[in-house]
């Protein structure tokens, strides 16, 4: 029947044909194509893709110099052909010889329409979106530096070996990486990168170095290798801290460094912390005052460390025994250094600085600012709070003791007067 109608259809007008034809064939002929003689004058079909994209993504020369068109807000060229194949389109057709083989098994494949793939468009959009989004470089928490994917704080490994001498046990940390602009006669303003790194073996040897280059990796490499050439040795007291408090300055940067007991940690500027870790100092407190210029901080701290005097040197200078008192040892007087010749009491001048801290700080007194009460402590509600919570102040301890005694929070009265469930009451 159908074949007969089809043959008729060729003769008949098109609308009748559409009505009569089966569904799977109709859509093929339904595609919109204009047969008008009017040409569409629109730059989308007048200009090539390359030019169109350029008009969208380009940044003016002045803007590019300022750094526009970079980073997160940047528009990128999308390859709209990606994810598309010839012979596969919105309408899922099977074209033997184009999108499918001509013969499958013994069967000769025929051109036919397959069911529509609903997800095709979504997939295409996804592929296109993946090209546009700005992807941040992911770093593992161990590799990360002070902030995000920035270089400062990141490890570079040991400096490159010189001949047969390798820097075993060394590690390098980036302290600063910045771009510098320099003027050149023929090139005009050009960009250079400057890196400041510190390297050390954690056992007293450390050094810092600068490196400048046109590219970041080169600058880092130069700085790393130069720092390996400028190693200094520092004495570490008992393998964990410095010998004494000290004050040090470079330019307008002032640093007050304090010796601390075991377990205190490094409470200081992050660059000082990295330096301490490179040297092997574990406990210390440092307060930076004045300028926060990082290069000055690094230089000041290294100078301060170098100007330290060991206990033996201090004892020799003073010609007196140097005695250490530790609270955890019940203030047992431990002689840490004795001079070759000890002065008597009469030989000690009256106006001499005998206070250890004052002596090592070179008579400089640190201004200790008065601590003001917290803003809420003067308010009336704070008094109410204190009154209200006074009765609970020992409850935590009591709970702990009850848990020790009974294994749970209950008292000796619980057995006699068990708590009634609220539903009963």
């Amino acid at each position: 029947m159908t074949t007969k109608i089809l043959t008729l259809g060729n003769i008949l007008s098109r609308p009748i044909n559409i009505l009569l034809k089966q569904n799977n064939v109709t859509s093929n002929l339904k595609t919109n194509f204009s047969t008008t003689s009017v040409a569409c004058v629109n730059f989308f079909n007048k200009l090539p893709a390359e030019k169109l994209w350029k008009s969208v993504t380009s940044v003016s020369n002045a803007g590019a110099k300022k750094g526009r068109g970079r980073g997160a807000g940047r528009i990128r060229i999308r390859d709209l052909n990606r994810g598309q194949m010839i012979g596969v389109g919105r309408i899922n057709m099977l074209w033997p010889g184009l999108s499918a083989p001509v013969i499958r098994g013994r069967e000769l494949l025929k051109q036919q329409r397959l069911p529509d793939d609903q997800e095709r468009l979504e997939k295409l959009i996804k592929i296109r979106d993946s090209m546009t989004k700005f992807r941040r470089l992911k770093l593992s928490p161990i590799e990360r530096g002070w902030s995000g994917t920035k270089m400062p704080g990141r490890s570079l490994g040991p400096p490159d070996p010189i001949g047969e001498d390798a820097f075993t046990g060394f590690d390098t940390k980036v302290l600063q990486l910045r771009s510098l602009l320099i003027m050149k006669g023929n090139l005009g303003r050009t960009r250079n990168f400057q890196a400041l790194v510190v390297t050390g073996n954690g056992q007293g040897l450390a050094g810092f170095g600068f490196g400048k280059a046109k590219e970041v990796p080169a600058a880092l490499r130069k700085a790393k290798n130069r720092s390996g050439q400028k190693l200094m040795h520092f004495e570490i007291y008992n393998g964990h801290t410095i010998y004494h408090d000290f004050y040090t300055a470079f330019g307008k940067t002032k640093i007050f460094v304090q010796k601390k007991n075991e377990g205190y940690g490094l409470v200081c500027h992050r660059a000082i912390k990295e330096i301490c870790q490179a040297i092997g100092i574990k406990d210390l407190r440092a307060k930076v005052e004045g300028s926060n210029n990082l290069q000055h901080i690094v230089k000041a701290f290294f100078i301060g460390l170098l100007q330290q005097r060991t206990h033996q040197q201090l004892a020799e200078e003073k010609k007196l025994h140097l005695v250490e008192y530790k609270a955890e040892n019940e203030y047992f007087p431990k002689v840490v250094a004795s001079p070759s010749e000890v002065r008597t009491k009469d030989q000690v001048q009256k106006n001499e600085t005998l206070d250890f801290t004052q002596y090592v700080m070179n008579d400089k007194v640190i201004l200790k600012k008065k601590k003001f009460p917290r803003f809420y402590e003067t308010m009336p509600h704070y008094k109410t709070y204190l009154k209200k919570y006074e009765k609970y102040r020992n409850h935590e301890k009591i709970r702990l003791n009850l848990k020790v005694e009974y294994g749970e929070v209950k008292s000796f009265l619980t057995d006699k007067y068990p708590e009634k469930a609220e539903t009963e009451a």
Partner: protein
């Protein structure tokens, strides 16, 4: 009961020696039977100046251990150390002060006789019989009265007014005048024998003894039981080094000597080459029991030993005086081993080893002197 315990304890060292090696382990388990000072009062002997001096010297105080880091006192971070510039005289003063503090830290817990029950009826009031079902306890909480002299009485439902017994007194004293660290209930580590033994097996002797000092009075039966078990454990395992330089070493030595089981300690002293301390131990036995053959000789040697400095480590060079003194000590110990020791063969062997080592040391130091050109 306790008499039998004491006899057992006395017999045990002999068992260890005579029985086969396999039996030693089983003996070790058996030998820990708590014994208390319930016979003769040990206090006069313990507090006599001779014994105190000997016990303090036997403690072998090493200041690095006496002033060691113990706890952080609830602080999250240790305090920053302070430094001082001192002249010789000032340093000596400071060291003298530290010595006083060491004395305080090394003050020995007293060894006294076990307490007796208080049975003291103050009055009997028949009119009050059946007045109430509960006891009434009256405590004098006047400030400044010592806990042991505080007036604490109870009115029983049967009309008797009597003085309270020690356990009630301790409880009430703790309620009104709490001692820091003391618990109203006995801590589980003491009440549960399994937990207590596990502590001993982990060699936490100092912790056990310190806590016992806080929790109990020295004349309480529980205190004496716990300490005696700990001492026996230390003795069996020969872990004397763990208690040296602590305040518990004196009572340990006193306990062992009092029960005449100090031969293992003597052996340890000889093996470690501390002959002088061995003589001190002999003198201690003479002072407590008076049964040492050459006790008077030991006492005279002690007078020579006491002025010499404490030997924390084995000496590397010897002076002529040292050699003289040590040879006297060796003679004294020889006699002790022959007449009084219960571990003769082992101690003789240890003494022989010491002699050989000492002979080498003598030759070395004399040779050194010659090489330096001194006579």
């Amino acid at each position: 009961m306790s008499l039998i315990f004491r006899k057992l304890a006395r017999n045990n060292p002999r068992n260890i020696i005579t029985d086969a090696q396999i039996l030693v382990i089983s003996c070790r388990k058996l030998s820990i039977v708590p014994s208390v000072y319930d016979g003769e009062d040990p206090a006069p002997k313990f507090f006599s100046s001779n014994v105190q001096v000997l016990l303090k010297r036997l403690t072998r105080p090493d200041f690095t251990k006496v002033f060691r880091k113990r706890t952080s006192h609830g602080l999250t971070v240790l305090k920053t150390p302070t430094y001082k510039f001192l002249t010789n005289e000032e340093l000596e003063e400071e060291i003298a002060k530290a010595n006083e503090r060491a004395d305080r830290l090394l003050q020995m817990p007293p060894v006294v006789k076990i307490q007796q029950h208080i049975e003291d009826v103050l009055s009997k009031d028949p009119a009050l019989v059946g007045y109430d079902t509960a006891k009434y306890i009256f405590t004098d909480i006047t400030f400044g009265v010592a806990n042991e002299h505080r007036f604490i009485v109870e009115r029983d439902p049967d009309g008797y007014l009597r003085s309270c017994d020690h356990d009630v007194r301790k409880r009430l004293n703790q309620v009104y005048f709490p001692t820091l660290g003391r618990k109203l209930r006995e801590p589980v580590m003491f009440s549960d024998l399994e937990k207590f033994n596990s502590l001993l097996d982990r060699e936490q002797y100092e912790f056990v003894l310190d806590r016992a000092c806080v929790q109990y009075e020295p004349d309480e039966p529980s205190y004496q039981k716990i300490t005696s078990m700990t001492y026996q454990h230390v003795d069996n395992k020969s872990k004397y080094e763990l208690l040296r330089s602590t305040r518990h070493f004196g009572p340990l030595v006193f306990y062992l000597t009092w029960h005449q089981t100090m031969d293992k300690l003597m052996l340890e002293l000889l093996q470690s080459g501390a002959v002088r301390e061995a003589v001190l131990l002999t003198a201690l036995r003479q002072d407590i029991h008076g049964d040492v053959a050459n006790g008077d000789v030991a006492r005279t040697i002690v007078q020579q030993i006491l002025p010499t400095p404490v030997q924390l480590t084995k000496p590397e060079t010897l002076t002529e005086e040292d050699i003289q003194l040590d040879s006297k000590c060796v003679e004294c110990i020889e006699k002790y081993i022959v007449s009084n020791s219960s571990m003769k063969s082992q101690q003789e062997l240890a003494l022989q080893g010491f002699r050989e080592h000492y002979q080498q040391l003598i030759e070395l130091s004399r040779g050194l002197k010659k090489a330096h050109g001194k006579q």
